[in-house]
């Protein structure tokens, strides 16, 4: 298969687009893990709830889906706070298996509730329609839909905003301090309970944004979050557990590798090849590309 310049450019763009979604999802996940040392397996289901709420809000309020996305992120963020308060905070400090089972229970509850609401109205799939679905940028060799540019731009704007929040604000500093040493942070007067809630809120909101952007470019179902969450886990292991920089680099790398592998090896390799990459990275650098807290 000869790879011409337009195909190469398209493949890289598809990789960056899907990588940006992984990046958002994985950042939320790594933030929760970094601060609370909790692995939230239900991140994929929060993602799909985000997509579904954006779909509904845009339709009911008759607003641009990108505006509806803000409402969806807020609602899912609040749901994240509730999950943390009434779920994870109650079992904090008990056996790790309790957290795992709580996560699995959340997957089933969130997925089945969504399916109950979703299926009678939309059958198997729904897609978020934006006013820009047939608007294109002419890049010479290819035309690029506005939605892809908005997706990448929005994802990066959020990452930069998160970076600013974490490294330039007092609350962000509290969050990083809690991540580095929870006990010391408590002794320094940081309200770690509030940090936990905030962290879950941001993580869930990022999942909602990831889901909404996914829903703009792909049809989605209540079940589509599971495989996306598994990939997000692979991304944070690849990038380094608890490292936001690692989630960003890992997400993009994962997206591009997946896209290139699908082009050359076929769709059957789409999921497998990225895990091959993960194994290779872990063999060479067991701590991931970036160390925890990077």
């Amino acid at each position: 298969m000869v790879l011409d310049s337009s195909s190469l450019l398209q493949i890289l763009i598809w990789g960056l687009v899907v990588g940006s979604i992984y990046m958002l999802l994985a950042t939320g996940l790594t933030l929760i893990f970094g601060v609370m040392k909790i692995v939230n397996f239900a991140q994929g289901e929060l993602m799909m709830w985000g997509a579904f709420l954006t779909f509904l809000l845009a339709r009911w309020l008759e607003v641009n889906p990108y505006a509806a996305l803000a409402g969806s992120a807020l609602l899912v963020g609040l749901a994240g706070v509730a999950i943390e308060r009434f779920g994870f905070s109650r079992i904090r400090g008990t056996a790790k298996i309790n957290e795992i089972f709580l996560s699995i229970a959340l997957i089933l509850v969130l997925q089945n509730t969504l399916a109950r609401v979703f299926v009678p109205y939309f059958r198997e799939y729904a897609q978020i329609r934006t006013p820009y679905a047939t608007e294109f940028f002419d890049l010479g060799v290819i035309n690029l839909r506005y939605d892809f540019v908005i997706l990448i731009g929005l994802a990066w704007a959020l990452m930069l905003g998160l970076g600013y929040f974490l490294y330039r604000t007092a609350v962000g500093r509290d969050l990083r301090a809690t991540s580095q040493n929870r006990s010391a942070a408590m002794l320094m007067g940081i309200d770690v309970r509030r940090v936990d809630m905030l962290c879950f809120c941001i993580g869930a909101a990022l999942a909602a944004v990831a889901g909404s952007l996914y829903g703009v470019i792909n049809p989605f179902s209540p079940y589509a979050g599971t495989i996306a969450a598994i990939k997000a886990f692979a991304v944070i292991i690849l990038g380094g557990l608890g490292s936001v920089t690692g989630a960003v680099v890992g997400g993009l790398l994962y997206g591009v590798v997946e896209s290139v592998a699908t082009f050359f090896l076929g769709g059957s390799w789409r999921d497998a090849i990225a895990f091959v990459l993960l194994i290779v990275v872990l063999m060479l650098r067991p701590e991931g590309i970036f160390k925890e807290g990077g």
């Binding site: 298969m1 000869v2 399916a115 009678p120 989605f220 769709g267 789409r270």
Partner: protein, 421 residues
Amino acid sequence: MANTRWFDLAMALAMVVAAPAALAQAGTVRLGLLTSMTGPAAGTGLDQQRAATLAVEEINAAGGVSVGGKKLKLELVTGDDQTSREGAVSGVTRLLVEDKVDVVFGGLGSAFGMAALPLIRDRGVPYIPTPSTPLFTRTMELGPDPTKSMVFHYQGTGLMYGAATADFIAQALRRGERAKVVWLYQDSPFGAEYVRGYSDRIKERNLPLDTVATERFKVGETDYRAQLTKIKALAPDVLVPMGFRGETVAMIQQAVLDVGLDRKKTAIGPVCACADDPLYYKDLGRVGEYTTILSLYSTYAAPKNRLFARWEPFRELFVKRYGILPGVMGVSAYDSVHIAAKAIELAGSLDKAKIVDALGRLEMDQQVLPVNGGKLRFDPKFREVDFYLIAQQLLWDDKVKELRPVVVWPHEVAEAKYRQP
């Protein structure tokens, strides 16, 4: 004395518990619809349940089925396969053990039906599956003699669709010209059979079609851009996107909008008949203009031919009752109820072996789905039905702001010729 009293009480209780089941057994014929009522395919399962309900009500309104001189009413019982193999096993167990159904029918996913099959076979219950994979009737491991199987497949199969795809491309789409064809198909037994049916037909009829690439995707995958980028680089004359409804919509939209496939050079279709559903037309939008679709039952078209005479009345009936149009899977469930009822009458008994025998020798007027020659029968070798497939081209209708089909193949029922954009 005390023991006798306890025994009498236990007997009385047992009779109270068993009586409703016994009465149901004696007074009704229980048809078990095994389909997806929850999980990703629940929407289509609901379509099947609604259509089957209509058929049951129709037959009951006409007095029911004649069994041994008595008129018995039909009762529809639904077993949920939960869109999973495990769900299919528990769903069919309920149908067989608890509901004690006389016939099992329906279903969407071959894998789920195949998971339920051993249990159905163990009890010798007649089974009319409606998923498209011909595994049900063409897998030798099913028994020493497949012709003695109790499975009667009522759905167009991947092999049929594949063969029709080759015929349609050669005859109508390319009109005998040599063509470079590319497939983007679902990596599943259904997809594999579909492509096999297509390849076999090319060899069998020496059709001038060169298959230059066969790209696959996993079931449920909705991002095909990388494969489509590769396909675009091959500049094919025809792209055949093969998948379920949602997958097909995504493939076509991504091919046209995102990857920028040259529509003037590359024809898209025919897509699988299993995608023909009201939502397909709605979801695809204008992007799907000029694409083609195979159909066993069309959501909107009504060719003027006796084979399609029941399409319009069935649609009206369904819309009147549920307010929405039915899909092809619903229609196959509707027909299956009529087939089961007819076979039971022919058997003159609820004895399962006799119903199986009756299904084997059944010959009746076709129901809603069109059959070659208009007579519905299961062929003795594979117990499949010889369906009549059509191909439609989708054109934009400004009045309804949606795509609407025009039948373009086979020529004896075609309303227009295929048009390249």
